[in-house]
Symmetry: C2
Subunit: 449 residues, 2 copies
């Protein structure tokens, strides 16, 4: 079979150069996570579909990738559904598993399954791919990495502050100026109640979540259609620097119980942040809703200031996620970094540092078979001394061998022919400046260590 191969839409291969850059992002985030005491966890790519369904809002289930059962998967499927070609209803009969959609639901499942072994508060980080059957576009893939840091087992706002600092420090190290946007679900609810959207809160949040995409006028139209005071709502939905003044102003407007709770949470978060010298701006953005079901308090979103990319980070407080899996009363808060978008931002900003994708320091270029065997022996000696070493593998003119060295950024070539083999005096060529020296193996090793 001969066919032009490709990768599925929304997925990509990563070359050595791309891998070096991705690793740079992951290791930067990981170093910050560890600075704050987070420990690494990994969960399977395959989850039971029952773990995933119903957790991501109305659209979420459609975006899950389902894995077909093995063997005769249709055997036990109800005949009437099969005859009717009812794709939607048949799923549960032919697919028991799916690919994880995020890292938070798997984490909640892990916490419930290991609740007796875990010491709370439990701080974990997780860096793994997730899968969503979204429509691919700029910055949106079907397979992409999330880098999450979550704490469960405490409702303390000190953790909200830690996570804000983690965003600040991580993006500072990566060299990406960001706007760290904060809201609170209780504040949003309070605005909704205040403006007559208390009964239609869900729809209210769906509409204002579209503010960036459809604009204020259209949002006001849809809110009016929903049946509340659109003008009053729009007046309260704004972005301001996160400070005492902004909070006091908001507090005056939200004089219901849920509003007072939300304001109190934001005030406590602000107290912690005021002790810090942050690199980036923190914005109080009362329009911030984000499409997920489970946020109950603080909500985060991070956007790059110099590149249009959508959000490159987001998260929030969830008081009862583990409750879905049977463990009530465990509060959690977490943030996510969109590593693939961050990659695209750094690329667009031309802000990646110089990174090596090739690690070889030295290549032996043998001129005949006996020299190739001899080089193979010397190469091991070099590696034992910690030098990353290759041997050109087959008969070829020196020009071709040096061409390989050049293509692979190898800085030193050791030419080995009969003379070198017999005398032990190797012809060492430094490819960056073209210098050539005669060195024995020990001198060569010393020079390169």
């Amino acid at each position: 079979m001969s066919q032009k191969p490709s990768v599925p839409q929304g997925t990509r291969d990563f070359s050595p150069v791309e891998m070096a850059r991705r690793r740079y992002i992951f290791s930067t985030l990981e170093a910050v996570f560890k600075q704050y005491g987070f420990k690494q966890l990994e969960t399977p790519s395959l989850e039971n579909l029952s773990t995933l369904t119903g957790k991501y809002g109305d659209e979420g289930d459609k975006l899950l990738f389902k894995v077909l059962n093995s063997g005769d998967y249709l055997q036990k499927a109800p005949d009437e559904l099969v005859q009717a070609k009812d794709s939607k209803e048949l799923i549960k009969h032919i697919a028991d598993r799916g690919l994880r959609y995020d890292l938070t639901v798997p984490f909640a499942r892990y916490v419930v399954m290991h609740q007796h072994e875990i010491s709370f508060p439990f701080k974990r980080y997780q860096i793994q791919p997730v899968w969503r059957a979204d429509r691919p576009q700029k910055g949106r893939y079907r397979e992409f990495y999330q880098c999450d840091a979550d704490i469960v087992g405490s409702d303390s706002l000190l953790y909200e502050a830690e996570l804000s600092c983690i965003y600040d420090e991580a993006f500072h190290r990566l060299g990406i100026p960001v706007s760290i946007r904060i809201n609170n679900r209780k504040v949003l609810e309070s605005i909704a109640i205040r403006c007559g959207f208390g009964e239609t809160f869900r729809d209210f949040t769906v509409i204002i979540d579209k503010l960036d995409k459809i604009g204020e006028e259209k949002v006001a139209e849809e809110l009016t259609a929903l049946g509340g005071d659109a003008q009053a709502a729009v007046a309260l939905l704004a972005s301001k620097t996160f400070n005492r003044e902004a909070l006091d102003g908001l507090a005056k407007e939200l004089n219901n119980e849920v509003g007072e709770k939300g304001i109190a949470e934001l005030e406590e978060l602000l107290s912690y942040l005021e002790t810090q010298n942050l690199h980036n701006e923190i914005i109080l953005d009362t329009t911030l809703a984000r499409g997920l079901n489970y946020y109950t308090g603080t909500i985060y979103e991070v956007v790059a200031k110099s590149v249009k990319m959508g959000s490159i980070g987001g998260g929030g407080r969830y008081d009862d996620l583990t409750g879905i899996f049977g463990l009530k009363g465990v509060s959690g808060v977490g943030i996510s970094f969109g590593a693939d978008r961050i990659y695209d931002v750094l690329l667009e900003m031309n802000a990646f540092p110089e990174l090596g994708a090739n690690f070889t320091q030295l290549i032996f270029c043998p001129m005949d078979e006996a020299s190739r065997l001899y080089s193979f022996k010397l190469a091991s000696q070099c590696r034992e001394a910690g030098i990353q070493t290759e041997v050109y593998p087959e008969p070829a003119k020196l020009k071709k061998q040096l061409g390989y060295a050049d293509n692979n950024g190898i800085p030193v070539a050791v030419i080995v022919g009969e003379n070198e083999r017999e005398s032990g005096a190797l012809s060492v060529k430094f490819l960056q400046d073209g210098q050539q020296e005669s060195l024995d193996i020990l001198a060569l090793i010393n020079r390169l260590k």
Copy 2:
């Protein structure tokens, strides 16, 4: 919804301790790969099903996990297949994608897609999970990591030798004594031809591949049933130390063309290996077949000497894998490490080194709210100095806070109350020996750096 959650059969979560151990294995392998000049690559978990099918033998397609198409996946499915509930034939109509089964076929696809950008020979390593719908058992999972090193674009046996050395060095660093078993597909074919199984070679290799599982007698029975000289075959199928004597003995028996080619390849490989001081034994095992379609020369298998686990590594030479994707004449050779089995071997041998899963060096234990804010500020100063620091997040008695420190292996606790806050003299408790000192923040930082 409240349900007792679980992970799918054959998959596992990895706790922080398990992650530290897995990272230890991956980083050890990666260090060896880099020593030999291999560069990292990653490919998507999702592949087009057409990329995967037909590459892994008769049983392979059954073991692939298929991903259901999104939306109304049954709409275009032929009615007659649906009515007949023909699970097998329907797959291609309802599932365009699958999860990768190994890393070699994706690599071949990558090489063909990027042939004009790649400099040959191309040496890449890849450490990623793969998925197989196998029956789970000891050491066999449905989601597991492979750690592969392959070279494409050269048929030189120097690379076979390099890969043997990589197996030897990697398992030496991990502390696992192994048996590195080598065979050659041409030698196997030669034995088959010599004993009357030339026409039934495929079935011949399937039978002898079962030698470890069903034993010599049953293998002889099945070979007889196949219609050749079972006794002659069994006499030639043996394991010996890989040396000149073993090869000379074999050469005498295999006097056909393909046998001579195979012996010549093994002799060249031996020449390279004779220049090395290897830590482990290399065995010439003419029974080694391995179930895959695409090996054309050298075949490897690695087993642990002290733990019964099945193979923990395997690989071989494939002359025409990229040919399947349209690029002929590119030879490759590669090896794989079964990281999850290696993990289980190290566990059974109790051979993991002491590894930290918790990285926190210091925790602030505040005695009141003002002290918590004060600690939050000091913690940032510690982190700026490179110290991994936590702050106990909520009001709690000191005993509880120190209990958290103890559970998480945090060696230093800094108790902060009104006095400490006002004087700047922090009460620093070293939890390993119980010593307590009074230090200001700068002295504390100096002590811990």
